[in-house]
Point group: D2
Chain length 350, copies 4
C-alpha cells in the first residue's frame, strides 16, 4: 500500500513467533495507522516473517531481527509477545527512551510482586513499574490507558471471566465469596511450543479440565474483581481444554442476593457504549464461532427457572479480544485513534 506513513504509529513487536505474535501481525499489517518497523526473534533472525507464517505472504516483507534496544527505542510503541519474564527486563530502558509499551504477557498484570513470584515462579525484576502499569482492559480503565506508558494486556481467560462478572460485582448483586468460573479454551491458548499434550492426536476428540488446583489467571481475575467489589472475592476457576483452535467460553455462576433484578437490562446498560462487548438478546446463547477472528466479546445472562443462581456465558476469540485485538484496542486508545480502527473484522462463520 502506498499510504503516507508520515503520521503513522511506528510499531515494534518483540517476539513474533508465537500465536499471539502472528495474530498481532495479522492485525498490524492491515491497520491503517500503524507502521510495522521491526519484529524481533533471537532464534529466527534473518527469516522473513512470511516464511514462517504463510498467511502473511504478500502483506509484509519484513524479516525477524535480533532484539536490539536501540532499534526498538525508535518506535513509538513496542508490543511484547514474549514468554512471561521477558518484557520486565527490557521495559525500563524503552520507557526511559520515550517508548510506550504494551505487554501481552503477564509481567505487569499483578500489582503484588510477591503474588506474581508465587504464581510465575520467578522474582520480578521490575517491581518499580508495577504501580504505574495500567491493566489494559478498556471497559474498566479507558482513561488510564490513554496516558499510560506501560499497559499490561489482560490474559485471555481473565478477559472473558471479568467482563462476564463485572456488572454483577459492580452492583454487589451476588454472593461474591462463592463465584464459580467454568472456562473452556481452544488449544491455541496453550501456545505454539512443541508439547505432547497439545499435539493434534492428543487434543482432538478430547475434552479435559486442567489446572484445577490453581491456574495463573486466577489471581489476575481475583485482583480485578476485588478492585470492583471493594474487597477480596472468593472465586473457583476451572479451565478446560476443548478441541478447537480458537475461542474461549466462560460459564459463570453466582448466587443472587436479591430477586427481581432485571439482569438483561443491567448487562445491556453496563455495556451500551462498549463497541467490543455485545450483550445478546434475552434468551440467546453465545457461541465461540460468532467471534472467531473478531475483537468482540458476546455475553448472555440467565436466571434458570427463576431460582437464585445467575448464569452468565461470555465468549471471545482468545487470540483477538483475549490477546492481540485487545492490544490493538489499547494502542488505538493510547494514540487517540477511533477505538475500532483496524478492528472491524467480521467473525468468520462458518
Amino acid at each position: 500500500m502506498t499510504t503516507n506513513t508520515k503520521n503513522k504509529i511506528k510499531v515494534g513487536v518483540v517476539g513474533g513467533t508465537g500465536y499471539t505474535g502472528v495474530e498481532l501481525l495479522r492485525l498490524l499489517v492491515m491497520h491503517p495507522m500503524a507502521e510495522l518497523r521491526l519484529v524481533t526473534s533471537r532464534s529466527e533472525a534473518g527469516l522473513p516473517v512470511a516464511d514462517m507464517f504463510p498467511n502473511l505472504r504478500g502483506h509484509t516483507d519484513i524479516a525477524f531481527t535480533v532484539p536490539d534496544s536501540t532499534a526498538l527505542a525508535e518506535c513509538d510503541l513496542v508490543f511484547f509477545a514474549t514468554p512471561n519474564g521477558t518484557a520486565m527486563t527490557l521495559v525500563p530502558e524503552l520507557v526511559a527512551a520515550g517508548c510506550r509499551v504494551i505487554d501481552l504477557a503477564a509481567d505487569f498484570r499483578l500489582k503484588d510482586s510477591a503474588l506474581w513470584q508465587q504464581w510465575y515462579g520467578m522474582a520480578h525484576s521490575c517491581v518499580d513499574m508495577l504501580a504505574e502499569a495500567v491493566y489494559g482492559m478498556p471497559e474498566i480503565n479507558r482513561a488510564a490507558i490513554a496516558t499510560a506508558r506501560v499497559v499490561a494486556n489482560p490474559g485471555c481467560y481473565p478477559t472473558a471471566v471479568t467482563l462476564g462478572f463485572l456488572p454483577l460485582i459492580e452492583n454487589a448483586l451476588v454472593d461474591d465469596q462463592h463465584l464459580i468460573a467454568d472456562a473452556k479454551s481452544g488449544v491455541s491458548g496453550a501456545g505454539r511450543g512443541a508439547n505432547v499434550p497439545t499435539l493434534f492426536a492428543e487434543a482432538a476428540e478430547n475434552f479435559k479440565p486442567y489446572g484445577v488446583e490453581g491456574h495463573r489467571h486466577l489471581p489476575e481475575i481475583r485482583q480485578t474483581l476485588a478492585l470492583s467489589a471493594g474487597h477480596a472475592v472468593g472465586l473457583t476457576f476451572v479451565p478446560h481444554l476443548t478441541p478447537m483452535i480458537r475461542g474461549i467460553e466462560a460459564s459463570l455462576y453466582a448466587v443472587l442476593k436479591q430477586s427481581n433484578v432485571d439482569l438483561h437490562a443491567l448487562y445491556t446498560e453496563r455495556y451500551v457504549n462498549e463497541m467490543f462487548v455485545d450483550v445478546l438478546p434475552a434468551g440467546v446463547t453465545p457461541e465461540t464461532r460468532s467471534v472467531r477472528g473478531s475483537n468482540i466479546c458476546r455475553i448472555s445472562v440467565f436466571q434458570p427457572q427463576q431460582a437464585d443462581t445467575v448464569v452468565v456465558s461470555a465468549v471471545i476469540d482468545n487470540l483477538v479480544k483475549g490477546a492481540a485485538g485487545q492490544a490493538i484496542h489499547n494502542m488505538n486508545i493510547m494514540f487517540s485513534l477511533a477505538e475500532t480502527t483496524g478492528l472491524q473484522q467480521v467473525a468468520m462463520l462458518p
Copy 2:
C-alpha cells in the same frame, strides 16, 4: 462364530438407526452371551444393518425388519433405542408376553408422569408402569435391576453428573440447594437426525452452551439426587456442545458444609467395588479420551486452595457408559452374567 447359542440371551433391538442403536449393535455382536435376533426400523426395513453402518460388515448379516410385536415377544430381552415416546406404547404388550425390556430413551426415567409430560411435551401412555420400572444405574440400583421387568436406562448427562455428585449427597457434605453442574458433550449426543446445528460446518471449531433455561436431563438428575438426599435438591445444570464426536465431561461445584473431609478417600471407598467407576489418583484430572469406546466413568475430586468449594470432574463416553454400554451392563445384571461380560473394551487412545 460357531459358539453354541443354546444358552444365549435372545435379544431384539427396536430402532437401530441412531447412534445409540449402532453402538448397541457394536457391543451386542461381540457379546459372548447375546444372540441378536432382530433389529427393527420401519423406515429401513429390508436394508442389511451393515449397509447403513459399514463398521458392522462381517460381524452381522441381519437386516432391519418392520417392528412386529410377535417376533419381539419371542426375545428374552428387547432394547428400545427409539425416540422418546415409542417404548411406552409397546412395553406393556411385551412385558405381558414375558419379555424383559431396557429402554434407552426417556420414557420410564421419571417417576412423576406430570413432570414427564411437562418436560417431554406429550402425555405419558404407560403411567402404570412408571412405579415398577427400575432406573438402570447399577451403582445405586443393582439389586432392583437384577429382577426388573422394565429398566429405564439413564440419560448420558445424568450418568456423569449423578455419579459425580453421589458421594457428596449420600453423605450430606454439601449445600445441596446450590449445586452446579457444568457439563459438556460431544456432538453425537444430539443424535443422528439431520439438523443444521449439528452439521460439521456448524459444530466444528465452535463451543457453546445450550438449554440454559432448562434441559430435559435436569429433572432426571434432580430426581436421583433427591432420592439420595432424602429431600429435594437445588441444581443448576448447564449443558454445552463441544466439537468432538464422543464424550461427556461434567464439572461439578458445591459448597462444603464441613472442612477436613478426605474427599479422595470418600470417593475411592464409595466406588471401590464398582468395576465401571474409576476414581483417579489424587491430583490427576480425567479426560474424555481415556474412556472413548469404553464403559468406564473416571472421576476426580478437588478442593482448590483448600477453600470451601469442592470441584468434581467426571468423564464418560456418552454412547457407552452414557447409553449402550450401561444398557449392556444392565442386561448382564438382569441375566446373572458377570457384570463385565462383553464390556471390557479398552478405550481407544489416541
Copy 3:
C-alpha cells in the same frame, strides 16, 4: 459507517441463507464501494440477517425479504447465492431491466445446455443466455468479465483444479488425455442443508472419496481446459471429503511430454500479474490454512525424482476464492474498481 453511498454499487443478494451467502455478506458489509440493498430468502423473510448469522451482528441491520424482481431491478448488481436452477428463472428479467448479474450457482457455467441437463438433472430454462454469459475466472477472462451482463462464477473445485493445470495445458506440456485431479474439500463445500452425511458425528474423524463415478464439476473443468488446449481433454477427477470446515486442496498429476522444462519458472511467469494467485517458492508445499478466509490461491509444482510425472498442488478457501471472494473479484472488475478492493483479508492462521 458514515461513508457517502452516492457512488457505491447498489447490490442485491438472492438467497443469503447458505454458506456461500453468508460469506458473500461477510465480504460485502466490509467492502468500501458496495452498498448492500437487499438480501432475499423466501423462507426467512422478515428475519434480520444477523439473527441467523451472529457474526454479522453490528455490521448490518438488514433483514431477509421475499424475492421481488422490482426491488432487485433497482440494484446495479445482483448476486445469486441460490440452489442450481434458480438464477436462470430470474436473470432474463433482471438483465432486461439493466441489472448485471453474478451467479454463484452453476446455471451459466456450461455452454452446452444438453450437457447441463445431463449433469444437473433438469432442463435449462435460459439457453439463450448461455453463449453470452462469461465464465467468471479473472485469470482467463478478465476482459470479458469487465463488460459482462451475466457472470457465471466458477465452482470451487474447478477454481483450484483449473488454476493448477492451466500453465501446463496452455503450453501443451503434458499428455492431456490422462490428467488426474485428486481433490479434497472441507465440509462447508457440501452446503448448509441438513443432511446426515455432513453431520459432525459423521464427517469428523473421517476421510472419504465420493462422486468417483462422476461429479458435476467434471464437465465444468473439462470445458475450461478444452478451451485452453484447443481440443477435448481426458480428466479423471476424484473429490474427497476431509474433516475441516473450509479449504480445498487439489493434487494434480500429468505425464510430461518433454523434459527440461523449468516448471517453477513457467508457473511464476504465468501468474506474475495475478494478485490472487501465489506461486510458492520452489520446494515449498501449500497448506489450506494459509488461505483460510482469504481470496488467494497458492500453488506449488513438483517433478518428483525428476521422473516424467508432474505434480501440482493448489489450495484455496472454497468459500472465498472458490465462491464469494471470486464473485467480489468479478464485481470489482465489472465496476472498474481496483481488483483487490475489499479483498485484502489476511488468512486466519492459526
Copy 4:
C-alpha cells in the same frame, strides 16, 4: 482375568511410549493368547504404563522397564515399537537367544541396504539379516511369516497402497510405469513426538501435501510392487496430512492396458480368503471411519465413465492394519493361532 497362562505366548515390547506402542498394548492386553511380560522405555523406566496411557488403567499393572536383553530373551516374541535404527542393534542377540521378532519400524523392510541408507540417513548395522527377514504382509507372505524369525511389519502407507494396487499389478493390467498414489493420513501417523507441525492448532482445520519430492515409504512400496510385477515399477507417491487422528485413505490411479476387465470381480476374487481385506460392493466408496480401531482394509475399484483410467480407494486405520494390528496378525500366524485371534474389534462408528 484368571486365564491359564501356561500356553500363552510370552511377549515383550521394546519402546512402548509412542502411538504404535500404546495401540499394540491395547491389543495385547485383550489378546487371549498373549502374556505381556515387559514393556521397555529407557526414559520412562519405573512409570506404570497406565499412568502414561490412562485407557490402560485396570487392564495392566505393568511398568516400563529399562531395556534388558536378558529379560527380553526370555520372551517367545519381542515387538519393536521403536524409532528407526533401534531394532537392528538388538535383533541379532535376541534371535540368537531363540526369540522371534516383529519390528514395527523400518529397519528390515528394504532388502537393499544401500537404498535403506539413502532413505533413512544412517548405515544399516544388521545387513546380514535383511535377506532372511520377512516382509510381514500376510496377504502376500503368509507362509514365510509362519516360520520367520524376523518379521518386518509394513509401513502404514505401504499397507494401503500395496493392497490397493496388488490385483492390478499381479495381473499386469495397467501401465505400471506411471502409477499414481495419492494418500492421506491422520495426524497420529506422525507419531507422538513433540513437534510444531503436528500441534492441534497447526494441523486442525488444515490439509496439506508433504514429502512430495520423496517419502521413505516410496521405496518400500516400489519394492513390493516390483516383486509382484517381476520388474521395476514407476510410482508417484504423494502423502497428505488430514485433520483427523486415525486413518489412511489411498486413492490410486493407473491407465488400463486392456478394456473389458471386470475389475470388481478381480478384486473380490483376489481377497476372497483374506479375513482382513474387505472389497466393498460395486459402487460403494470406503471411508476411514468404517475401519477406525479395527484391523480391516476396505477397498473399492472404479472405472469412471468407462474410460481407460482405473481408480482404487483403500482405507485402513494406520495404527491397526497399518501397524499394531498387522503386527498381531503376524504374531498369530507365527504362533499358529487362528488369524483373527484378538483382532475382531468392530470399528468405532461414529
